[in-house]
Amino acid sequence: MSLLTLNNVSKNFGGLKALSDVSIDVEEGKITGIIGPNGSGKTTLFNVITGFMKPNGGDIIFDGKSILNLKPHEISNRGLGRTFQIVKIFGNLTVVENVMIGALHYTSHLAEARKEACRVLDFLNLSELSDVYGDALTISSRKQVEMARALTLKPKLLLLDEPGGGMNPTEVDELMGQLSKIKKSGITIVVIEHIMKAIMGVSDRIVAINYGKVIAKGTPKEVSMNEEVISAYLGDTVNVL
């Protein structure tokens, strides 16, 4: 069952074609990974899906209904959560308060929201950081808190934009474990990542993008053997499998 469908989505910035005819099906309950060189349009794709940018063409269907001209808060109200490539933590709030913001969607009682926030922080092993202010965190911690925050919204679909940014290999492994845990709890995930070994290892399907176009779709193994994908990454000293 496709939870999120993109049909021929295009986005132009003046003369620059950031996205051309992108069509993707995201299967419910699975982890879909998006890979592509820098500047290939991955974050633009997320921005278009989540309503921060309007596409110039195509349609976006989430959970059976089009979300094409909706604003970000309306889209997230329908069950779509997101983290950002340049992490957007609330620096003026503590970690637990950051995560409470998501929980406040379901309750207006601060105490209840705090309880839920602590539960999610526990789930991701972040409880230690509860009282640290957002602006005092390292980038990788911020990314983790951002993810926790998105989870309290109880989304059906979670879009993660480079959650492994700034992490060392051990932390990346932990992150992949977290993604599996999240998937097991029933949340569909779409994740953009550069760390090939990690994303190929945890994803059920992969979509490869280059110059705003989809160049390959399939299982990690299939995509990694695709010639266009390999040539797009030629020059990157990355081990694909």
Partner: protein, 342 residues
């Protein structure tokens, strides 16, 4: 897991509570000293703090500066007074009408200026333009507002129901403004510790992230502006009834706008104590300055205020209360990961 952030009975908190009780008792008992002059000065201070607090409710929690708050103060003053003089409507009711009118204008301005991304500057300018527009309108619409001469409320004797207390019973006016300040501060506190307050903090922290958490930023900002401007109008009615005379340039002038903002910024915007602390310091400072500087040295006191503002922005941008809070935050034992930088 039960979250327990701070131990409920830390010595610092105890001292704070004791100080607060002493201050409250002092202010409640002040009329017993039977010094009307002192009462006047403190009342001025309370009015300053009240107006600042209403400004703070919006600008402090959203981080969006409004340079036009005087407009709502003025709308309150003119609305209740015109209703009083033309229809003999009690200013207590006029206060509510003024508040509603004020809120409508305020919410309209907020909505119009905050719709698009260039928010901060647009809003500050929009509020200022609105304030100036209303001032000029007031000056021009002479049949309704008596133009530049302003309005004088004739003294018809003491009448509590008509918000007329008179000079002999100054302590009644004193308690009115004291209660107003307490109420307004309580509202500010309640907002801070509510979902609205948290949402506003989130929007202020990072609007995109807040939107992606289901928060319709515009809705909450406009709502808060409504509360802020509704309360600001009440100050206008109080001013009118207490001073019995007011004119456009005093009510709506640029200096009024500055006098509303400055104590809050000095004291600490975004905090409940900030406007009060700022008003106290400023009133004290006014007193000293007016005595030291010759009265024909026009503009000199304001040069000081301008300098203080500049230095404040460079070294203590959060104001005094936030500075103190930050110091307290750092000195309490907390495990912190290394700074991630901005």
């Amino acid at each position: 897991m039960t979250p327990e952030l701070k131990t409920p009975f830390s010595p610092r908190k105890n001292m704070g509570v004791v100080l607060a009780i002493i201050a409250i008792a002092f202010f409640i008992g002040l009329p017993l000293l039977k010094n009307n002059f002192l009462l006047s000065i403190v009342m001025e201070m309370f009015l300053l703090a009240y107006l600042g607090q209403t400004w703070n409710i919006f600008s402090g929690s959203t981080g969006l500066l409004s340079f036009g708050h005087a407009a709502f103060f003025g709308i309150g003053a003119y609305t209740s007074t015109i209703l009083l003089l033309k229809f003999n409507l009690s200013p207590w009711i006029g206060m509510l009408v003024g508040g509603l009118l004020s809120a409508c204008v305020g919410m309209a301005i907020a909505y119009l200026s905050l719709r698009y991304k260039v928010r901060g500057v647009f809003f500050a300018l929009g509020a200022l333009a609105c304030s100036e527009f209303i001032r000029l309108l007031t000056l021009a619409w002479i049949p309704l507002t008596n133009g530049a001469q302003g309005i004088m409320i004739p003294w018809k004797g003491e009448n509590l129901l008509m918000f007329a207390f008179g000079v002999r019973k100054k302590y009644l006016s004193y308690y009115v403004i004291l209660i107003m300040l307490a109420l307004c501060s309580y509202i500010a506190y309640k907002i801070k510790k509510s979902r609205l307050g948290y949402y506003l903090a989130a929007i202020n922290g990072n609007e995109d992230a807040a939107e992606m958490l289901g928060i319709h930023a515009l809705k909450y900002q406009v709502m808060t502006m409504g509360i802020s401007t509704f309360l600001a109008a009440w100050a206008g009615t109080f001013y009118a009834q207490y001073y019995q005379h007011f004119e456009p340039d005093v009510i709506f002038g640029a200096m009024r706008n500055f006098n509303i903002i400055f104590p809050v910024v000095l004291g600490g915007s975004g905090t409940v104590l900030g406007p009060i602390v700022g008003a106290v310091i400023l009133q004290g400072f006014e007193g000293i300055v007016r005595n030291i500087i010759p009265s024909n040295w026009y503009g000199v006191p304001r040069i000081f205020y301008g300098l203080i503002l500049v230095i404040l922005m460079m070294y203590m941008p959060g104001g005094i209360v936030n500075f103190v809070k930050r110091k307290l935050r750092h000195s309490s034992p907390e495990k912190k990961t290394s700074a991630g930088g901005k």
